[in-house]
């Protein structure tokens, strides 16, 4: 003897659950926000670009209007120094950087680029004159270069090898000319 389902049971079984579109929308929005937050925090926690990674490309327009595109400097060792005129530790390494530049300049395969971070042009030019800096320097317009390298302050120095790979990172001032040479020379080995 099989039991016949009652009319109420049939209605209940055929009734579909109502889709709450407003709640689906709310949850999608909340998830999207959480994802944004996650990627933002992850980026903030990443720290500077690491050794062995491809160096972020950039174009530096110097104070005298010349343009340097990192991607066009392949085959050369590039030293990128972030500095500011108001930064006291930057003064500590300024003379050594200039001495290193004068040492490597005749080789033609080493390029020094100074990136002036959040500074005024007047003070920056005074600083360059005071320390007799002759290698190319320009402002970090819109802080785009420092953002690409995820710098944490100044001075910071990034040395890029001939293949465009970041080979050396210094998050504090160089203490001597020898220290700078010790960072660059291994990248020129074999020449």
């Amino acid at each position: 003897m099989s039991a016949q389902p009652s009319e109420n049971t049939l209605i209940a079984s055929t009734r579909r659950p109502r889709i709450r579109w407003e709640w689906i929308f709310v949850w999608i929005a909340v998830l999207a926000l959480l994802l944004l937050l996650f990627f933002g925090l992850r980026r903030a926690q990443q720290g500077p670009v690491g050794i062995g990674q491809r160096a972020p490309d950039f174009i530096l327009t110097t104070f005298d209007g010349q343009q340097y595109n990192l991607s066009e400097l392949k085959g050369k060792v590039v030293l990128v120094n972030f500095w500011a005129s108001w930064c006291k530790p930057c003064e500590q390494e300024a003379a050594d950087l200039e001495a290193a530049w004068r040492f490597y300049r005749p080789r033609q395969d080493v390029v020094f680029l100074g990136v002036d971070w959040t500074d005024t042009e007047k003070k920056a030019l005074q600083y360059l004159e005071r320390f007799g800096i002759t290698y190319p320097n320009g402002p970090d317009l819109g802080t785009r270069i420092s953002q690409a390298y995820r710098t944490t302050g100044v001075p910071e120095t990034y040395i890029i090898d001939r293949n465009g790979i970041l080979a050396y990172v210094k998050l504090s001032p160089f203490l001597s000319l020898d220290e700078i040479k010790a960072a660059i020379d291994p990248l020129l080995a074999g020449d």
């Binding site: 959040t118 802080t143 785009r144």
Partner: protein, 165 residues
């Protein structure tokens, strides 16, 4: 010679007189003496911006040397005749959007302006639904009373008998 100078004097006098009657007064070249830019003028713009280096410090009250240089830069630009918008654009070009106290409405910055009102509206909607749910028990209380049971009749009769005593 004296006659020539006399004629010149008469002619100049006539020119002055005619200008006087025409209501035109002679004007003299003014020496360019621009008003010095006050600290209040500088700070009025500086407070619309934040120090690009220090975290969350408005530029008008930031005590660092770098901020003093940026305030000097604002003063220089004001002296050159730049207006607020031109100065702010210059700062954005140099140091990025983060110098602005009010983020520009582009890119992900839109979220800053959209999320608070949306959250407020969502909160209002949730409150509205909650109030609706709270009102339901009240509406049940207002429903017609249930049919009398025999027990109710008995209780009523008992009360009437007790009153007679």
């Amino acid at each position: 010679m004296k006659a020539v100078s006399f004629i010149n004097t008469v002619l100049i006098s006539l020119v002055y007189l005619s200008l006087f009657y025409l209501g035109v007064s002679p004007t003299y070249a003014q020496s360019p003496t621009p008003q010095p830019i006050t600290d209040d003028q500088v700070n009025a713009i500086a407070k619309q911006m934040y120090c690009p280096v220090c975290e969350n410090v408005p530029l008008d009250v930031c005590p660092t040397q770098a901020c003093a240089e940026w305030r000097d830069l604002i003063r220089d630009k004001l002296t050159m005749g730049w207006n607020d918008d031109q100065i702010k654009k210059y700062f954005v070009d140099q140091y990025g959007d983060r110098v602005l106290a009010t983020p520009p409405t582009r890119g992900l910055n839109w979220l800053i302006y959209i999320i608070p009102p949306l959250t407020f509206l969502a909160g209002m909607f949730i409150l509205f639904r909650a109030f609706q749910a709270w009102r339901k028990p009240g509406s049940q209380a207002a429903a017609p009373p249930a049919q009398k049971t025999p027990d109710d009749d008995y209780a009523q009769r008992l009360e009437e008998e007790l009153k007679k005593l």
